[in-house]
Amino acid sequence: MAENNTSDVKYRSKSGRERFTRTMIYIFLTLLCVIWLIPFFYLVFQAFRGESQNMVTYVIPKQWSMNNFRILFNETNFLHWYKNTLIIALFNAVLQTVIVLSVAYALSRMRFKGRKLLMNVMLVLGMFPGFLSMIATYFLLKLVGLTSENSVPGLILVYAASSGMGYYIAKGFFDTIPRSLDEAARIDGASRSRVFFRIIMPMAKPIIIYTIMMAFIAPWGDFMYASLITFGHEEAYNVAVGLYKWLDKEHINNYFTVFCAGGLFVSVPVTVLFMALQRYYVEGVTGGAVKG
């Protein structure tokens, strides 16, 4: 009897401790989620605030309205910026995917003279800060007239051209597809290009979606390159550069809520797309991190 009791107490105390740990974890995670969500709620509240356009000392708007969106679409260049970014993102999604997959396949599947050297050179090139090469790229683009008002094709070129160096994740994925598949097809007389399109591509759907997704999303957030290439030509800005200017000292009092409206308008489609394809993103980053 006594024995029974002690084991019972032991059991209960253990489950009690477990319950305590779980409660602590729930509290911690909920707190975390609240902190993580605060900026987004703040963004939404400010975007729909009607009474004024400057920063105020309270969070909940006194008057809800769509006025900020009206200003955004009718009185600013925002739609220009949005169109620029969308065009860049679409082109980049196609070009970058083709380039990244080509490089990854060649380096993963084929063995040729200079392959190791090539990979090492790309590794070393990647150690230079990107902005360094950007300065000279700017002069190169200026030479052929692809800056300022023609920034859109210029930026597409810039993003796509160096994307070959970001082949690691896709290569890591290709490396996991057994090579015996290629070899079997090659014995049956299929050429390398046929193997690429008919065997590898259909199996590489997750990584293709991941690459397209990253290539599409990246231009929406790029500030560094876009601000240099579009320098001084407002209609050619992308959303990041355009909206950034509204938060400087001269503009913030008239444009703070308009910035929030613009930010919301940019974030919602990108976030929805991201959330819908989340699975592929997770696969991509975890695979990439583990393989290095």
């Binding site: 779980r22 974890i25 995670l29 975390l32 989620c33 902190i35 993580w36 900026p39 703040y42 963004l43 920063m55 000392t57 309270y58 969070v59 380039i99 080509s102 060649a106 040729f112 090539l118 070393v124 090139l125 150690m127 230079f128 800060p129 360094l132 950007m134 300065i135 000279a136 790229t137 002069f139 190169l140 051209a161 070959g164 160096m165 490396d175 390398r192 290009s193 999303i217 929406w220 957030g221 500030f223 560094m224 601000s227 240099l228 320098f231 959303v239 990041a240 950034y244 929030c260 919301l264 940019v266 990108v270 991201f274 959330m275 989340q278 997770v282 980053v285 975890t286 991190a289 583990v290």
Partner: protein, 504 residues
Amino acid sequence: MTRLDELDYLGLPPAKQRLYNIKVFFADLPKKCGSALKKIPSAIGHGFAGIGGFFKDIGHTFADGDVKTKLSFFIMGFGQFFRRQIGRGIIFLIMEAVFIVFMAMFGFGYLADMRNLGTVAVEKTLNDYGLEVTVYKDNSLKILLYGVLTIFFVVGFLWTWYLNIKQNYTAQKLIEEGIRPKAFKDDLKSLGDEQYYKTLLAVPLLGITVFTVIPIFFMILVAFTNYDYAHLPPESLFSWVGFENFQTILTTDISGSGKFAYTFREILIWTLIWALVATFSNYFLGMFVAICINRKGIKFKKVFRTILVMTIAVPQFVSLLLVSKMFANEGIVNSILLKLGAITENIGWMTTPTMAKIMVLVINLWVGIPYLMLITTGVLMNIPADLYESAKIDGASGIKQFTKITLPYMLFVTGPYLLTSFTANINNFNVIYLLTAGAPKTMEYDGGAGKTDLLITWLYTLTITNNDYKMAAVIGILVFLVIAVISLVVYNVSPAMKNEEDFQ
């Protein structure tokens, strides 16, 4: 320190064993770093040996080649014509013609101009009506740019020339053995098969050469000129200055206060601290959150995960700019704290140096934890469950399980990621620039730098606002050196950098 032999080592209690291992690791560290650095000369030696072999190879080809091969040294494609490889022959011949014409008309001029980057910038003349007009003559920037392009063109041509003689030699050998060399048609066909990699890599490599290699080469040259706001083409010229810029940035007492060198040193230290703290704080806290979410019996896993992942999805310029405004002096955080009576005057979250540094690190957690949470979740799930089972049977506590199983496994698998993430943080432009843009600015620093500036954001400011291209180039090169040395050492010191072929 004294080394123990194996028996003594095994005789130690486990805790002391671990301590001993750590001691050995750190005692060996200098040696390992040294041996990693010692590899550099031998690598350079290998490089030169390779170049030597290359020229020997060319000499050998010439000596051993027949008349057709020998003539191909001067008339590209000559041999191919007589070996029934007309297609190849024509392409090589056209290339040579284009090269000669280009060099004769422009190339030599461009290269010659590079010696002093121009002599006269502007000339003021009177036009027919007696009015003064400004004529722009030499533009150093264009001279340098065209010069660099010409150099790459020449290198490209030399490489084609080498291919040309190699192919001639191969064809000659094949014919001597009685095999017919490949026709042009077969060449094209093999581009979809054995040589498919050439087709795949052609465009990407062209892109990388034009938009990465050439610009980097150009900027390395700029580091040796005096190209800055006082020497802006087309109004004025810039010229070669040798290592002067490197001296300015590395020594404290060269003509003037030496403020620039001081600024560089301070920013370099902060950049390294930032990268180290940002990488590891994100890593461990992200792992902690992942472990919490993945713990058995915790519900709403998906909800927690989705909410955290949203920060990755929302473009950083929206979220970070907004957060920076929330923490501004008149921002919402201060307002609410004032209303609550928690503070009596605004806290300078982003305006006092130390506070700003802490804030960017904390806000970076907000950016980084979800990302690390995703990565570590994937890895955590791959840890064999029976390891934990047997640990539980042996009575290991949760903490012990973590330090003995989870952590070593994680570090082993994500080791390469840590290095990548460290170098990415050194170049983390977005977080710093969007949050503080380097502020608070200070008079202690030169070149428009602020207390939270990283080298990369300072590089940006130097270029965009100060037009100090020469210093931007120098800093870029130094950033490269820092990253290269760290990577080299880590690759050599870390116990198991995996061989890529192991995965196949």
